[in-house]
């Protein structure tokens, strides 16, 4: 998940509420007619202002460190049939352990001549620190796919979109995008894993245009390639804490001049989803044997990319990069295999255990004074949270006497310029170098919909070469917090993290919108 991070406590509640709005779809501007009549309509109206297509407000998408951003979005709704839309994870909702499948049909995708138009967006966002961003994108898919069917590994016939031998849910697509952003404050702490915790800043202007094409080969494997041209400008500053006033180009490559980059890439992405639920013969009169059986959903999202960055007229800045991302998710759920009555639950901790279990299994309103009443019923679905294992590896190659410009180097700490969280106890962009890696483990469990509990562990480091990434420089942190889920997604999180050596750090994240 791509996340933004900030330390503004005052913004936390507003950010959660407003972001919740951006993912909700059930509210409409119709609710605003009765805005002043009751709190419910006021909340619905607020949500509609941040979600109703085609025109609505947004507050996210500014890289971290650039204040609180608000903007407007003109968009055409996403269609899951597009290969650039991350399919909504199949979700096991608490007490409703039946995953809802997204729609992969082309039936409702608008036409644009001989193309399908899957996704279009124009947006402008302005931030409290003077940063701003404007972007436009369009995804099109050549027609030619026809509705078809195939038999999946369970022997069940499923729908797909057919093109010759291909029979996939998502279809071949092309994505065009143009963006300009002006970022007033990007943090810089020097380069390398041992850089001191002294914060400097720089101002970055980026303009880039890109074209991408993706071909799903099977549902869990797609090939992608693209070309981007990007131009970065780092205006010099005489401020006391500015990078340009404190560093020189010899130690910070790219500081004195910023060439345009021609940037082609190729990528392979995987995303299989696997259920694990053993076939069992359970009976309603079971009162012994195992209490539960697993009902697990694994989602493995992995990607390997190779990038060529060819600096225009400045060969010392050209480089290549291998990026490997992984995000393995396990939704932990079970099915009850033998019943439990109130009389079986005992007292004290035992009763607490079963009442907690009953809530995980979607039951409420049990009368604990009736010993014969059923607390758990056979085959009842129960949910126990979500385990997420993520990693991100960047390895850069340069020619002799070449160097990766510092503003294109990966960062670890807080969140990076793409709003990806790494070491949550550390400041944004804390460690920077041509090579980097981090791993994360998150465990979140619903407490009371939509709130959940979060426990996490992060580890990461950077280095001038890939071989220099060692445990000796590994930074670690851990923490706990609260999540806000909407429609089964963790949409935002607030947390306390330890590990930076200066006590707990409070922070919050919310999903990047675009």
């Amino acid at each position: 998940m791509r996340l933004l991070r900030s330390r503004s406590r005052l913004c936390l509640l507003a950010a959660f509420a407003l972001f919740a709005a951006t993912l909700s779809s059930a509210q409409t501007y119709h609710d605003c007619k009765s805005f002043t009549e009751n709190l419910h309509d006021a909340i619905d109206c607020t949500e509609a202002l941040f979600s109703e297509a085609p025109l609505h407000l947004t507050f996210s998408s500014m890289p971290p460190g650039n204040g609180f951003a608000v903007g407007t979005v003109l968009e055409q709704n996403n269609h899951y049939v597009s290969p650039f839309v991350l399919p909504r994870p199949t979700v096991i909702v608490p007490g409703k352990a039946q995953p809802q499948q997204p729609d992969f049909s082309t039936k409702s995708v608008p036409s644009l001549g001989s193309l399908w138009s899957a996704d279009g967006r124009l947006a402008a966002v302005f931030s409290t620190n003077g940063s701003w961003l404007t972007t436009g994108s369009l995804t099109v898919m050549p027609k030619g796919y026809v509705p078809g069917h195939r038999t999946d590994h369970n022997g069940v016939e499923v729908d797909c979109n057919k093109l010759g031998p291909l029979c996939t849910r998502q279809v071949f697509g092309m994505h065009m995008e143009g963006t300009h952003r002006s970022l007033q404050t990007i943090s810089f702490y020097g380069t390398g894993p041992g850089s001191p915790p002294v914060k400097y800043t720089f101002h970055e202007n980026d303009t880039f245009g890109s074209f991408r094409a993706a071909l799903p080969v099977v549902d869990w494997l797609s090939l992608e390639s693209g070309f981007e041209y990007r131009q970065t400008d780092l205006p010099a500053s005489t401020a006391a804490n500015s990078v340009s006033a404190n560093f020189n180009p010899a130690t910070v490559p790219g500081l004195s001049s910023q060439p345009g980059f021609a940037h082609p890439y190729v990528a392979v992405r995987t995303g299989p989803t696997v259920y694990l639920s053993p076939k069992t013969d359970d009976h309603d009169d079971n009162h012994s044997g195992p209490l539960m059986k697993p009902y697990l959903l694994f989602t493995f999202r992995n990607g390997a990319e190779y990038h060529w960055y060819a600096a225009q007229g400045d060969s010392v800045s050209s480089f290549q990069q291998v990026v490997i991302d992984s995000d393995e998710n396990i939704q932990l759920a079970t099915r009850v295999r033998h019943y439990v009555q109130v009389g079986d639950t005992g007292h004290g901790l035992s009763r607490l255990f079963y009442s907690t279990l009953a809530r995980a299994c979607g039951d409420s309103g049990i009368d604990w004074s009736k010993p014969k009443d059923y607390v758990l019923k056979v085959r009842q679905p129960c949910r126990f949270g979500n385990l997420d294992l993520r990693s991100h590896i960047v390895a850069s190659r340069t020619g002799t006497n070449s160097a990766v410009p510092f503003y294109l180097q990966p960062t670890v700490g807080g969140s990076d310029i793409d709003s990806r969280p790494s070491l949550r106890a550390f400041p944004d962009y804390r460690f920077r170098a041509p090579d980097a890696l981090f791993v994360q483990t998150d465990y979140s469990v619903p407490i009371r919909d939509p709130l959940g509990l979060l426990v996490f562990y992060d580890a990461g480091t950077v280095g001038p070469t890939f071989s220099s990434l060692s445990f000796a420089h590994l930074r670690q942190d851990a923490g706990l917090g609260v999540t806000l889920s909407l429609q089964g997604h963790v949409a935002a999180q607030g947390y306390l993290a330890w590990g930076a050596g200066h006590g707990p750090t409070f922070g919050y994240n919310f999903t990047k919108f675009f």
Partner: protein
């Protein structure tokens, strides 16, 4: 002692009469009260020859416009003299359809019937397991009252399709699956169901499951004691209607039946499972068996009456509707079984579910108490229980409209009356709960919009239920 039914799975499809679907099975099995081929109806126009049943029912196109099947029309269909009580002659179907389509030739299509060759999946299951030729719809009327009867042995006083408040108010068998019984239920839908608008079930959203997960759950032994399956009622959101409601393709419903059957045969509990395929009402289509009249048994006088309908069609619900197909599928049923000794109706589902899974609870009313149960149809026991899985053929597409072809240029149909009604009902029920509907149902212009509306309405229900 029959085998105990431990799993009951009910699929209720739409608007087809027994003779229309299975009547010509009589030619292979004379014990079935089906068609000889010479059954007839009065013609649409005076002087024209009588209209005889035929074996050329098509997958689509025969029944457009949708034949009338409201109370007054059913009266005219089953009795050419307008007297539905006694022994109605069942000879007014063509004339009644003529009042709808105004085309004498087209009106005669109400007599068209399928054969085992043109309806291979339902017919094969009926032959290989059991067919009931005396299952009547509960109400001589339309879809919604009959669908309410299959859940509550009552339509909450509603006799017509213009029913908005009744699904919300209805008490159903699902309320009996409380903490006093170890058994549970599940309702699989494709986004539409009158049950979603029910007062009790609005707060039981965890019991609703998307049909796309049915096969997985069936194969892996995750089905509860009682499973009710709703077909897709309308096109939209990547779905195609498979309810078999005229004039949606019959073959899609056949494919649904086949998918459910194969999934259930892989269920670990298959040998104690009963799969019941049922139709809500006859849809205005010809059947030759007069519906029975009910007389309340005095021993049930202490049970609640079913709420009567008010003007203009005052009705006390003592007369059943037209016969509908009912096929019982289980490895504990021998081939070529014909169930014809009891007059089943949709209240039989409520009564059977209660007897099997909620025996300590009380019947909802006299209709339920009086309805015959089918808990004893699993007559094979022990080693005689069948191990075979019947091989089902592909559905027959007879009439040339492939709704999946040309999907690259989607054109959504006008929504059906039923799906608009469901949207209206959902709007009403959400308002009753103090929830804001997802919009004004009257602004919905096509089937996809209705499907999307119903999905949003369910999201609102779920959110509200989760917040409590």
């Amino acid at each position: 002692m029959p085998t105990q039914v431990e799993r009951l799975v009910v699929l209720m499809l739409e608007n087809r009469s027994f003779d229309h679907m299975l009547g010509f099975m009589k030619q292979d099995n004379p014990t079935i009260n089906g068609l000889n081929g010479d059954e007839w109806n009065f013609p649409a126009e005076e002087g024209a020859p009588n209209v005889t049943v035929s074996q050329d029912a098509g997958d689509v196109e025969d029944l457009n416009p949708d034949p009338n099947h409201e109370f007054a029309h059913v009266t005219n269909q089953i009795s050419s003299t307008g007297d539905p009580v006694g022994n109605p002659d069942m000879k007014g179907f063509v004339r009644d359809y003529f009042t709808d389509c105004h085309d004498a030739t087209h009106a005669a299509k109400i007599m068209k019937c399928f054969t085992p060759e043109t309806l291979p999946i339902l017919s094969t299951l009926a032959k290989e397991y059991a067919v009931c030729d005396r299952w009547f719809s509960s109400v001589p009327g339309s879809t919604i009252p009959n669908r309410m009867f299959v859940h509550g042995a009552s339509s909450a006083g509603s006799l017509t399709q213009d029913v908005i408040a009744a699904p919300f108010a209805l008490h159903t068998i699902f309320e009996s699956f409380d903490a006093t019984t170890p058994h549970d239920f599940a309702i699989y839908t494709s986004g539409s169901s009158i049950l979603l608008a029910n007062r009790y079930l609005l707060q039981q959203q965890d019991k609703f499951h998307d049909y796309s997960n049915f096969v997985f759950d069936a194969v892996n032994g995750n089905l509860p004691a009682y499973t009710f399956i709703e077909p897709a009622y309308d096109d939209g959101d990547g779905l195609f209607a498979n309810s078999q409601h005229p004039d949606f393709p019959v073959d899609r419903g056949e494919a649904l039946i086949r998918e459910i059957y194969y999934a259930l045969t892989k269920n670990p509990d298959w040998k104690s499972t009963l799969f019941l395929i049922l139709y809500d009402e006859h849809g205005g289509i010809f059947d030759h068996v007069p519906p029975p009249v009910l007389t309340r048994n005095p021993i049930y006088n202490d049970l609640p009456d079913v709420k009567h309908s008010g003007p203009p069609d005052v009705f006390d619900f003592t007369r059943l509707g037209v016969r509908v197909p009912a096929v019982f599928v289980s490895p504990c049923i021998p081939p070529n079984t014909v169930l014809n000794t009891r007059d089943y109706e949709h209240s039989s589902v409520v009564a059977t579910v209660r007897k099997l899974f909620c025996p300590d609870s009380q019947p909802l009313n006299w209709r339920e108490a009086q309805a015959p149960t089918f808990d004893d149809v699993l007559t094979l026991t022990g080693d005689s229980i069948r191990n075979d899985v019947v091989e089902l053929p592909d559905p027959v597409v007879s009439a040339g409209i492939d709704v999946s072809a040309g999907a690259a240029e989607p054109v959504f149909r006008a929504p059906t009356d039923l799906s608009v009604l469901m949207a209206h009902t959902m709007e009403f029920s959400l308002e009753q709960r103090g929830l804001e509907p997802p919009g004004d149902f009257r602004t919905l212009t096509n089937s996809a919009e209705v499907v999307a509306y119903l999905q949003k309405a369910q999201q609102i229900s779920k959110a509200a239920a989760g917040a409590q």
